[in-house]
Subunit: 511 residues, 2 copies
Amino acid sequence: MRNLSFYERFSRTFREYPSISRFLVVFAVSGGGLVAYSEGNIQTGAKIDELPEAGSEKKRVVILGTGWAGTSFLKNLKNPSYDIQVISPRNYFAFTPLLPNVTVGTVEARSVVEPIRNIIKKKNLNVIYWEAECYRIDAKTKKVYCRSSEKDKEEFVVDYDYLVIAMGARVNTFNTPGVEENCHYLKEVEDAQKIRRTVIDCFEKACLPTLSDDERKRVLQFVVVGGGPTGVEFAAELHDFVSEDLVKLFDKRIATFAEENFHRDGIDLRTGEMVVKVSDKEISTKVIKTGETSTIPYGMAVWSTGIATRPVVMDFMKQIGQANRRVLATDEWLRVEGTNSIYALGDCATINQRKVMEDISAIFQKADKDSSGTLTVKEFQEALDDICDRYPQMKNLPATAQVAAQQGSYLADCFNRMEQCTKNPEGPLRFREFGRHRFRPFRYKHLGQFAPLGGEQTAAQLPGDWVSIGHSSQWLWYSVYASKQVSWHTRSLVVSDWMRCFIFGRDSSQI
Amino acid sequence: MRNLSFYERFSRTFREYPSISRFLVVFAVSGGGLVAYSEGNIQTGAKIDELPEAGSEKKRVVILGTGWAGTSFLKNLKNPSYDIQVISPRNYFAFTPLLPNVTVGTVEARSVVEPIRNIIKKKNLNVIYWEAECYRIDAKTKKVYCRSSEKDKEEFVVDYDYLVIAMGARVNTFNTPGVEENCHYLKEVEDAQKIRRTVIDCFEKACLPTLSDDERKRVLQFVVVGGGPTGVEFAAELHDFVSEDLVKLFDKRIATFAEENFHRDGIDLRTGEMVVKVSDKEISTKVIKTGETSTIPYGMAVWSTGIATRPVVMDFMKQIGQANRRVLATDEWLRVEGTNSIYALGDCATINQRKVMEDISAIFQKADKDSSGTLTVKEFQEALDDICDRYPQMKNLPATAQVAAQQGSYLADCFNRMEQCTKNPEGPLRFREFGRHRFRPFRYKHLGQFAPLGGEQTAAQLPGDWVSIGHSSQWLWYSVYASKQVSWHTRSLVVSDWMRCFIFGRDSSQI
C-alpha cells in the first residue's frame, strides 16, 4: 500500500467498503514531525538544540511583543550579528488603525493582520518566534520566563543579552465596576469581531416581538466611552454602518425613522461626564463639575478610554527601582532606566525627559573649557547644540502607533550600527563623563493624525489644531503608515476589501 | 447645538476641552429606535402590530431554519399570497461545501455566507425574519415556541397555517465518550474558524522548546474521524495546507522532513476501525472484526461521522405518533406523516418510501375498472404509469446539500402553484380515494458528487462509482450549486478569495 497515492488508496478503500460512511474511519494527517519520527530518522527536529546559547559569538536579542513597536523593530533590524527571538501570544501583527473598519465589516479581519512568520521568512536573519506570553522578566540573571498561550500552558525560560520590551499596555478601566464584565474593548482584532457580532445581534433582538418599547430603545443604543481618536472613529464608522446599511435590512418603520434622524445627526456627544458604574443594561455617569448622576441604558458599550501598565511590567519595575512610577521609564535612547541591556518602546514605556535644570552644573563645568568659572560666548555656543539635542522640551509622547513604529525603527537602526557607533560615537556630548554618547537620542516626528468621522468628513490634526478635510485625505494617512510598515500583501487585501464593500455594501451576517 | 453637524460639534468640543482624552466621554450612537422614541413620535415602530394574525386573508407560512433546505424554499417562493416568517438562530445561509476551504484559509468565512436579510430584501414578498431558536412545535394548536439566541433568551410564540421544518440535524457522536469535549465538528462556519485556529496553534506549540519528542509528535498529528465526502475533503485540504504553506513558515528541519514525506503521502487511512473513546490527547479505537484496541495520540481531531435528529424534532415526533422512528418521516410530497399542514425537508427528515406490496390490493381494485377480479393487459398498462410515479424504488436519500436544495425548490414550487394545482391536480392517481394527487411527488436528480482530494486530484462520483478527475472539474461541481443557490455577491467573493490565495498563499495568523 505504501506507494499508492492517497487518492488511489481512498478510491480502492471506497470500492472495498461500499458502506464506508457507516463506519468510523480515521484519517491521521501527520504534520511536520510525525512521519520523520515514526521512521526513526536520526535527526530529531527538536528545536531546542538550535537555541542560541550563552557564550556563543552572536548576541541574543529577545523581543517581547508583536505590536507596532516590536514589529517595526523586527522589520528594520538588518544586522546579521544577532540571534533574535520574538515572544508574543499573538502570532501576527495587526494594523490597528483599521480596527474600527473591521467592526463594521468594510475591511476583513484577515486583511489587517500580517503573520509574524511571514515577516520572519522574508528576512535573512536568524529569527525564532515563540507563541507564548512572558510572565516574568529577571533583569539580574538576564532571563525571561514564558508560558505558551494554548490550554496546556507549557512554561520555559529564555536567556538574553539584549531585551526589547514592546508588550504594549492593557486597557485602563480606572477600576470602574462592571467594565470588564460588560464592555467591549477595541484593542485587538478579536475585539473588533465581537463588537461586529454584538451590533448585529442588537438589531436582530430589537426586531423580536416580545420586546417592550423601552427595551427596544435600550437595545438600539450604542455607547462609546472615551474621546480619543479610536473612540471617535469607531462611533463614526458605526453611525455610517447603521444609517447606510443596517436600517435598510430591518423593519421599514424603524428604517424610516432612522433614516430621517441619521441624515441629521445620530450621535449624541456628552462631555464633562465620567462613568462611575456599568451594569449589564445601564451605564451610570456623573457630571464632573456638579456631581449630578444619571444612567444611560445601552445595548452595546465600547470602552476606549486609555491604557495602563501590564502586571508583568509593574513587577519588573519593582525589581529595577521604578516601583514609585506609573509607567516604565526609559532614557532618550529608549533604554530602561536602571538597566543597561533592556530597552522598552511603544505603549509599555515612556521616555523620562531630562530637565535642563537638573543637569545645569554638570553642563556648565563641561562647557567651561578653561575652568574660568564663567562661560565665554564661544564656549556657550559650543555647548548649545548638545543641550538642544538632549533637552528637546518634548512633552510626553502620545501612545499611538506612529510613536511605537518610529521607536521600533529608531532602535533597530541603533542595533544595526551598534559596532560602528561604539567606535565612532555620533550622539551628543556626555556632560557628566568624557566623550560622546554612542547614538543620537530618539526624536519623534509627528506626521499628523486623522480621525475619520464617517461619511465624507475626516478630522485632521496637522499639527496643532483639528481641521475638517475631505474623506479622500484619509488615504494620505493610511499611506503614511502604509509606506512604513505594511506589506504589499496587506495593502492589496485592504484595497480589495474596500472595493468589495463599495460594490456590495457591508455585510449583516454574524460572521 | 442641534443643527451643528457631528463633526462641528466634535471639533468645537475638542477645542473647548483640550485635555479631552483624560475625561470619559460618552457617545451614544442611537440605532433605529432611539431617536424616534425620544422625540415622542406617535408610531411606535413595534413590529408586533405587523405580525400576521389568524383569520387574515393570507396564509401564514413559518420556515424553521436557514440552511440549504430553508433558504432554497425561501428563494424559490414567489407566490405573494403568503405571509412568511423565517425563524433561525443563524441569520445567514452558509455555503457548506466550502467549509473545508475555510478551515485552511483559501476562502474567507464571510465569503461563504449570505445574510438572510439580504435575500429577503431582494424579494417582493412579505417576509419577516426572527433570530431565534424554535424549542417546541405544537401541531395541535399550530404554534411554534421560540427563544431568542442572545444571552437574554426572550421567549415568544408564533402561529402558522403552514409549517416548513428545515432545521437540519445535529452531529451524531454515537454516544462515544469524550467526543463533545475534545473533538471539532465541521458543520458550521464557526467550526471551520475554530479548526483553523487550532491547527495553527498546534504548529506553534510544536515549536516550543519544552516539548518532548513524543509530545511534539502528538501535537502534529491531526485526526479526522469519518469517511464521508466532508471528512475526505477536509483531510485533503489540511494536507495541502500543511505541506504547501505551513511547513515553509516553521523550523527548517521540520520542514525538510515534512516536505519529503508529504510529497509521497502524508495521510494515513485506517478503515474497519471504530472510535470507542476520546480523551484530551488520545483517541481509542477498536478494530471491528477482531476487537483489538489501540490508541492514537492527536493534536487536533475533527469528528465528521454523520448526523442525528435534534431534540426538538424528537419531541415533535412523539406528539404525532412517530415516537418509534429515528428520523422524522414525510410522504413523497414532503408532508410530515400524521399531519396535514407541516412539511419537513433537508437533513431533519426522510421520505418514507411506500412499498408497492403494501398497497397492492388497493392498486388492483383501482386498476380493475370492470371489477372483473382480473386485470386485462390494457387495464394493467393504464395503471403502470401511476405506479411508477409513486413507487420509484428509490433508496433513502443521502443527507446532502443537493437533496436539501432540491427539496426546498420543489416545495416552493408546490406552494407557488397551490391554488392552480388544487383545481387541476397534476399528480398520480389516488389508489385508495378518488381523483388525483395535487402535485407530482418529489423526485431527486443526482447531479453527481465531488470530493476534492487536494492538489490536482478530485474524486468524482458520476454516478455510481468514484473516478479520479482533474482538479479543474471541481469548478463544475461548484457551478452546479452556484447556478441554483448562490448570489453573484457570494460567487464573486469566493473567486476573489481564490485569487488572493493564489497570489499570496494561505495565511498563518490565528485570525
